[in-house]
Symmetry: C3
Subunit: 265 residues, 3 copies
Amino acid sequence: VNLVTLTTDFGAADWFVGVMKGVILSVNPRATIVDITHDLPFGDVRAAAFAIACAYRFFPRDAVHVVVVDPGVGGDRKPIAVRTDDYWFVGPDNGVLSWAIARERIKAIYHLQNKRYFLREISSTFHGRDVFAPVAAHLSRGAQIRDLGRRLAEIVRLDWPEVVEEAPGRIRGEVVYLDRFGNAITNIPAQLLSRLNVRAAGIYARGKRLCPVAGCYSAVPAGRPVAVAGSHGCVEIAVNRGSAATRLHLSVGTRVTLREQAGRK
Amino acid sequence: VNLVTLTTDFGAADWFVGVMKGVILSVNPRATIVDITHDLPFGDVRAAAFAIACAYRFFPRDAVHVVVVDPGVGGDRKPIAVRTDDYWFVGPDNGVLSWAIARERIKAIYHLQNKRYFLREISSTFHGRDVFAPVAAHLSRGAQIRDLGRRLAEIVRLDWPEVVEEAPGRIRGEVVYLDRFGNAITNIPAQLLSRLNVRAAGIYARGKRLCPVAGCYSAVPAGRPVAVAGSHGCVEIAVNRGSAATRLHLSVGTRVTLREQAGRK
Amino acid sequence: VNLVTLTTDFGAADWFVGVMKGVILSVNPRATIVDITHDLPFGDVRAAAFAIACAYRFFPRDAVHVVVVDPGVGGDRKPIAVRTDDYWFVGPDNGVLSWAIARERIKAIYHLQNKRYFLREISSTFHGRDVFAPVAAHLSRGAQIRDLGRRLAEIVRLDWPEVVEEAPGRIRGEVVYLDRFGNAITNIPAQLLSRLNVRAAGIYARGKRLCPVAGCYSAVPAGRPVAVAGSHGCVEIAVNRGSAATRLHLSVGTRVTLREQAGRK
């Protein structure tokens, strides 16, 4: 399908991402390359795993998703490629691919070992350029995954924090991602909201009610907090035209509870 | 023409822009997508309106310009598409398109209502992905605007601050945009400079002379302020190799006067 | 080859880069455009020269590399295009192209003077849009360099700080670039490491030993400094999962010495 996406923590300040694209276009001049993001927090494997899990399925079938948040580069974590029913995933086997792949049916996992698919010289510090970019480019133009290396049985998986039903109508979860708007994305599935009495429901943290649940940000006045069904399928805590992270002191890991009914703690 | 441009306040830190591109390429695999900017100040409809007004005409005819600075997402502002003689514009009807369109001849305005051109599931928080991206992709591959919804007579228009000729040779305007270099772009048309005695002319603010007018930044020594005919067609106040915004305490809305002749206040 | 790369200090906040792409696609609708970086320090010609020197050779043959860090825009520095055996380079003749070109064989240098290859109106502040983008687009679709203007004999060259062998096994160099991770890239060629007794070798600055030399970042514990052969072919001083620039107080110009053997100063 000639489509490669890139998700990294390389930032935009240097030439690292540009060079990956040069390598991809050298292997597959017909490739279309889409940046998902390059500004993930440095070395934050969980943020990267969440970002690609939210993004991958909006791309055409057979897209090659490259994810390089790789603090162990040059060490002994394996470079891998994964084929699922609909997509390719390429990156280090440090869990960064695992939340996206958890939603897909895996067809094959390969340890990237065949140097014919790498750049001729391989640095110890930039496998994004030397290993992952050329492998992705070869896959995007039809290379066979079985030629890339040795088959593996499993990938490293990050644990996903599951929500806990503390009582009927009380779901305890946590913040899993802060976006650039300061919206706090939780692990609470948004579809739970459709089963709730939304008018009475609210989000609680540290024993206090943070906000009501509503249909969209602008259901509350500017500057006021609200929880909505986020675009990623999770409950999201926001401040209309403001930052929930700042205003409500939320960070990744903060425990929050969705309660169907207002009431005592 | 298969060309779609994107102008948003979504930032580069998350997957939002990448996902819009995935949606566009899913509808039109031949689309070329160009980022105009994604780092507009959060929710700043006027900055977005100015950016696209400066940029749109440098693209090939029939390009589809998508502008999503949309603090009212999920509320009752209308999603619209506009056809002018030369371009398509897609975005929320909150004024963000109005300064670009003011320079074009409008052929049709449509309220986007036909869900066949949207993603199947529509969130209340991310119409960039669910509505604007797929509509733009359909337009870029030849969809008819009349199929998208209901025709409208007008769009919401932001007021543009017009300059005032206080006296012959004295034009009062204001700063309308600060760029990343700290250049202060004013609403004073640059062509006025060609009618002036530039040698004597200067820019004044708060009763004081800020700087002379010259042909280019480097007409003054490094660190010194100067007003030039900006690349956007407006008079621009700059500091050679520095920031006029910081050095001269200029911000959006600061009143400035172009005077043809040095003289008393 | 229809491939154009862009390296600038224009930032991502405004429409400047987007507009350059619009101009390129207006001239050559089949162009593929790759951003190398747009976040170089404002006006920093040496950082730009280093970035493109690290990046250019990872692109397919005949790519057109446009570099616009141009504090003298509108002044008397010349706009130029350079043909080497394998690539095109386009930018201001202020040295920004010189470190990349130093590694190539020059076939022709031209002063860009033929306005038929520029935009119709040329501003004094944005030659990236008005001169360099359209010239690059024309070159990418096969324009002859001899039609662009007048042939030049030489380009402006930035001096490159050469390393000094103070004594056998003691190489003195300096930091030439800080990347976004805080890695300090030096001018010491990485291939020197292969000749050293790496186990005993170390990097020294201000009379003190900063770190050992190793094969990859993760050869030392998280938070500890290490020097490695960087992906750009230079010795790089890093902190595993941290910032060497911050931790070791390194900046561009800081003198550092590679010593083969531990020992007295």
